[in-house]
Amino acid sequence: MDNYKILFAGPVSAGKTTAITSVCTTPPLTTEAQATDISRDSKTTTTVAMDYGTMQLPGIKTLHLYGTPGETRFDFMWDILSKGSTGLVLLIDNTHPDPFSELHFFLRAFKKFTKKSRIAIGITKTDICISPRINDYQAQLRNVLPNIPVFSVDARNQIDVALLVEALVVSLDLELAA
């Protein structure tokens, strides 16, 4: 396969737009608008439709990265953007009061990807809140989605995000790297 469509999903403020911006080879397309509801507490702007950017891989591959809005009132966009996607990068904000409930909520919402283990999970803001730890997330996923990549990710860090995307892509298609 020459092209991959990768979806970035997760709750508000998890760092989806930042993560896409970090790894895109060209300036990404974003649909940021001033936050007017609950998300205003955590940031000034929020994604209202989608983010889009591309990431060139050595060789022949191009990754098309799509960011979904985090707010549930825009969840209709989740289904629209999911169509044709090969994998999902799920970002969870570790500073959330109950990050596990967020994790399970989004796993249910993107059930299509969980069925074939086409997911990589990035836990963001672990520098602000160290708990729960990655092992705790792995324990949560043990019976639901065993053996998927779960990494601590700083969405501003190109290497962190690139490594998470790489883990997803390599999981999807081991031949890619061969």
Partner: protein
């Protein structure tokens, strides 16, 4: 094997003394321009210069374990390695005797009789009048002890200075001939030291370049697997150069051949990583900080925060990691509280520390008790963004997450050198994420399954998988 042992000993000797080589070479070079090497070399040895200090051996006689641990730490930390605990009291430069101990007084009596040239420091709770020795009251004051030790060091150097010139033979025709040979020998020595320095410089430059690469604007995208080793020679060469500190350069071996298998095996218990793993276990079970003390500095495991406090700098640690250790080289001790932990340290998560130390130790090998023909049991993906990453790591993890494989079949399936797989396994094994077990059906492990991107499996394979898991 004697050759290998000899080589290992030389390698170890080189690294332990590498920090001294430069100063010695520079000194000898400089002096060779001004004065004859022999004379200046001998004169330099006799001078009480700080750079020429060798660690003085201190015999601890009737000192209890607790105090001994503190003294070991004191010697390495406060005294910066100027003093070490003598293994053999007969070869000690200084004696430290606890007179309150059961045999303390008899030790002192024997010492006073026999070893007049070995200064002694006596410790006791109550004031004791002694001749030819220094007395210090317990509990021991670090400043006082340090000052006494330094006084003794000065005294010993003065004695050396007085003795050294007398021992110089008068040059005669014969001795001059011998000196000229000696001169040449020294020059050769300098040359070989310079060559060693050059090699070490190159190695360190490569290492720092690799480290910088990891944080520069060139992300480890696809860990370079997409343009993997065997396909592009230039990239392959670069990869080998950059990853050698972590995966070594061991060539592939026939894993069914026991002799060849031994080449790619190592015993973690014989290395620093073995001590660290023991300390981590001890810290977890006791719930208290555990310190590993050595003359190089201390490593303290703090179970409450999941961190390691490391006093030894990275490059030194890397060289120590690959050297076999002696039984008494690293001393484990449970600390009473966090207050006991020294301040000048680097903090690192335990997992990242153990992972990296294992890579430096393993260098593309597997632990000795692991059979490469057994199926790998992979608990889950490591948190790779917070660990030392190297090429092929994501591919290996992805393969093990999907299919049961042996170490041998992993390298074959991914078409990569065995050392990548062995390094990854060793590191994952050290942090408890991978192990091997006798598979019920070794077919799964040894079968060279073509890698399917869609992950479809036949019913038969699914049944076999179920059987192997339950």
């Amino acid at each position: 094997m004697p050759y290998l042992k000899n080589l290992a000993a030389r390698y170890s000797e080189f690294y332990t003394s590498s920090h001294k080589i430069k100063s010695v070479v520079m000194k000898v070079q400089k002096q060779s321009n001004d004065t004859p090497i022999e004379q200046s070399f001998i004169a330099t040895c006799a001078m009480p210069q700080k750079t020429d200090y060798r660690p003085l051996k201190v015999a601890l006689l009737d000192i209890n374990e607790r105090l001994e641990n503190r003294l070991r730490y004191f010697f390495s930390d406060r005294c910066q390695g100027d003093y070490v605990v003598a293994v053999d009291p007969q070869s000690a430069d200084i004696c430290l005797i606890d007179l309150d101990g059961l045999r303390g007084k008899s030790y002192w009596a024997k010492h006073a009789e026999r070893q007049h040239n070995c200064p002694a420091i006596l410790l006791s709770l109550h004031k004791t009048e002694v001749e030819n020795a220094k007395w210090l009251q317990k509990p021991l004051q670090a400043d006082l002890l340090h000052s006494e030790l330094e006084k003794i060091r000065e005294k010993l150097h003065l004695q050396q200075r007085q003795v050294a010139p007398v021992s110089l033979p008068k040059p005669s025709a014969e001795t001059e001939l011998a000196l000229s040979g000696h001169h040449q020998e020294l020059r050769n020595k300098i040359k070989s030291l310079q060559a060693l320095l050059k090699k070490e410089k190159i190695r360190r430059t490569q290492l720092s370049a690799y480290r910088q690469d990891g944080q520069a604007d060139n992300p480890p995208l696809l860990s370079e697997p997409a343009y993997a080793a065997t396909k592009q020679i230039s990239v392959g060469e670069q990869e080998t150069k950059n990853t050698a500190p972590f995966i070594g350069s061991t060539p592939d071996v026939d894993l069914d051949n026991e002799t060849q298998l031994a080449w790619v095996q190592y015993d973690p218990k014989r290395f620093l990583i073995g001590r660290v793993q023991k300390a981590v276990k001890l810290a977890e079970t006791s719930g208290r900080p555990v310190s590993i003390s050595s003359s190089h500095g201390s490593i303290t495991i703090v179970p409450m925060t999941g961190e390691v406090l490391v006093e030894i700098d990275g490059q030194r640690l890397q060289s120590l990691a690959s050297q076999p250790v002696n039984d008494d080289e690293y001393l484990l001790s449970v600390q009473d509280s966090v207050c006991d932990i020294p301040g000048q340290t680097h903090r690192r998560p335990v997992e990242a520390f153990v992972w990296e130390l294992t890579l430096w130790t393993s260098l593309g090998r597997i632990p000795v008790n692991v059979s490469p023909n057994n199926t790998v049991v992979f608990k889950h993906w490591p948190n790779l963004t917070r660990l030392q990453i190297f090429p092929q790591a994501t591919r290996i993890a992805a393969l093990w997450a999907k299919q049961a494989h042996t170490l041998a079949s992993t390298a074959q399936a991914l078409e990569i050198p065995q050392r990548y797989v062995f390094s990854f396994f060793s590191a994952a094994h050290a942090i408890g994420l991978a192990t091997t077990e006798e598979s019920i059906n070794e077919k799964i492990a040894t079968e060279e399954n073509p890698i399917k991107s869609n992950g479809n499996k036949t019913l038969f394979q699914k049944i076999l998988r179920q059987l192997s898991l339950h």
